[in-house]
């Protein structure tokens, strides 16, 4: 196996010209990628983690030759994405979340056969691969069903099969479990893991903004924010890089607001989530002893503590440390 990296970018940048609008009154250029340098060796399942608008999709579009970089260089399997697009295209495949590609009037098998033809597969070989892959993702029984009759989860499994038909060297997955129910997302993640485990030397680049997905699947994760890579390491190492101190999860009776807890000395950060008539607090404390102040403050408010647990820092905590806000907050900032 060659030691050449599967994907390599050097100081990659992409700027979009934006017309004058409500959101961009000055009509100034928008920087989507800003000096991204990455090296992904063969055989790695690499994750790009970032909020909406961070530049994940732009990076993928450049790597799959759909978009030219404004500056910098990128290669896939040693081929320049700018000047050797054809060589890149014959070695890659991409599946995006929420994809509705193809034609609803075709059956699943027909649709996959159609896409296989664009990759030069003879019909016999194509149908053999289609049936095999449909069996693996649990869609074999649906092969004669029209695409328009499939559920969202089934459709995404079919898309996954579409992406794998050409047996790509590098597989790009852009938010592949976006909008799927828990079961379908789990099936897809399981197959992605199995696919790369069975094929040493193949590479997957996965973008997601689900922390758990990145943590479960990826050998290494790059956190991308405002077009820049701000950290890149194995999930375990990134978690260790989270700010020092202690992390606790505390369940209490429903709170109207958790701002008062942020005033307590030693409390670095509080994230509150409402569920099933209770509030789950994720606390980042300067040191273990600060939890006493939190417990006392809740007791003073007349709230019972239902559960208290010290936890290891998560990838989400690392993200908060690096970006300064949680993923959902970063998404909201962009939306607003």
């Amino acid at each position: 196996m060659s030691s050449r990296p599967s994907i390599q970018t050097e100081d990659l940048a992409r700027t979009f010209r934006v017309l004058r609008s409500k959101h961009y009154p000055a009509g100034e250029p928008v920087v989507a990628l800003d000096g991204v340098t990455l090296e992904i060796p063969r055989g790695e399942l690499f994750g790009l983690l970032g909020p909406n608008g961070a530049g994940k999709t732009t990076l993928i579009k450049i790597l799959v030759t759909l978009l030219l970089p404004t500056s910098g260089r990128a290669t896939v399997e040693g081929f320049d994405v700018r000047t050797q697009a054809h060589q890149v295209r014959s070695r890659i495949s991409m599946v995006s979340g929420g994809e509705h590609s193809g034609y609803g009037l075709l059956t699943v098998r027909e649709q996959l056969w159609m896409f296989s033809q664009f990759y030069g597969l003879a019909t016999g070989e194509a149908l053999r691969r289609i049936d095999e892959l449909l069996g693996v993702v649990g869609l074999f029984e649906e092969r004669h069903r029209k695409v328009q009759q499939l559920s969202t989860g089934m459709r995404q499994k079919m898309n996954l099969v579409r992406g794998l038909l050409s047996d790509p060297q590098v597989f790009f997955l852009d938010e592949p479990t976006l909008g799927l129910d828990v079961g379908a997302a789990r099936d897809i993640r399981a197959y992605i893991k199995r696919w790369i485990a069975d094929r040493p030397g193949r590479t997957i680049l996965l973008t997601t903004h689900y922390m758990s997905e990145a943590e479960e699947l990826c050998d290494r994760v790059a956190i991308i924010h405002k077009g820049k890579i701000i950290a890149c390491d194995a999930p375990a190492h990134l978690k260790r890089a989270a700010a020092g101190g202690s992390y606790f999860v505390l369940d209490t009776e429903r709170l109207d607001g958790a701002d008062f807890l942020r005033e307590i000395p030693g409390v670095a950060r509080v994230d509150a989530a409402e569920r099933d008539h209770l509030t789950e607090l994720r606390l980042h404390l300067a040191e273990d002893g600060a939890i006493a102040g939190v417990v006392a403050a809740l007791t003073q408010q007349g709230r019972r503590i239902l559960q208290l647990q010290k936890v290891e820092p998560s990838l989400e905590d690392a993200f908060v440390t690096l970006v300064g806000r949680r993923m959902e907050e970063a998404d909201e900032v962009r939306t607003s």
Partner: protein
Amino acid sequence: MTLRRIWYAIRGRAYPRTVGAMREPSWIFYDLTLPILGVVAFVFVYRALGAPPRFTGYVIMGGATIAFWMNVMWNMASQFYWEKHQGNLELYMMAPCGLVPILLGMALGGMLATTLRAVVVVAAGVLLFQAPLTVSSWPLFLGIFALGLVALYGLGMFFSSLFLMWGREAWHMVSLLQEPVYLASGFYFPVRALGLWVGLAASLIPITLALDGLRQVMFPTSHPGLIPVLWEVAGLALLAVGFTVLALRMLRYMERISRQEGRLSFRW
């Protein structure tokens, strides 16, 4: 890329055009009933005026040809625009076969499916009105038909890239080009009636020359042709080559702009 792989891509994209059309029963209404209704109206007008029976034949030929024009405008010219919104275009652009065979596949599928519809319109017209349709020279007839198809779908392929760049305006362009072409190309009457120069100007749309040429072959002694039939064949050959070259250049340009600007192929 080998010819075999190009053919695979062409047939792959042609497949949904041919099979999909048969699975959508609404085509019977839109592509058969509507053209036949148009034919019926004009046949009765001509009969009321006491026009010779060959006018019924003109109208039936025109009705059959409408199916091709509608297919080219709605399913070729606008197709990349729809493909973009479905998310297919970016998958097509990153396929190793490239966009050319995919576009050719669209055209081939459209030709096959529409030829079937046109045959049904002609058969229905002949059965309903006993129109005198005979062919004086089959090689010439088939030659004109084939050249007309290539030129017409070449125009459609050219429009497909152009319309994609125009974005939403494409929809208006399709509507704008539909009815005026029915008139300018002489779908329901010999185009010569518009005068030589108007007819020649309308001949930029390949369907004008193709329809007039076919009518000349079917009514060799009585049809007032625009120009001699062999000139029409030469004109169609010129248009076929011209539009195909133009379509391929436009496609390359569209791909380049798309990669540079990122707005054409993405569903942003």
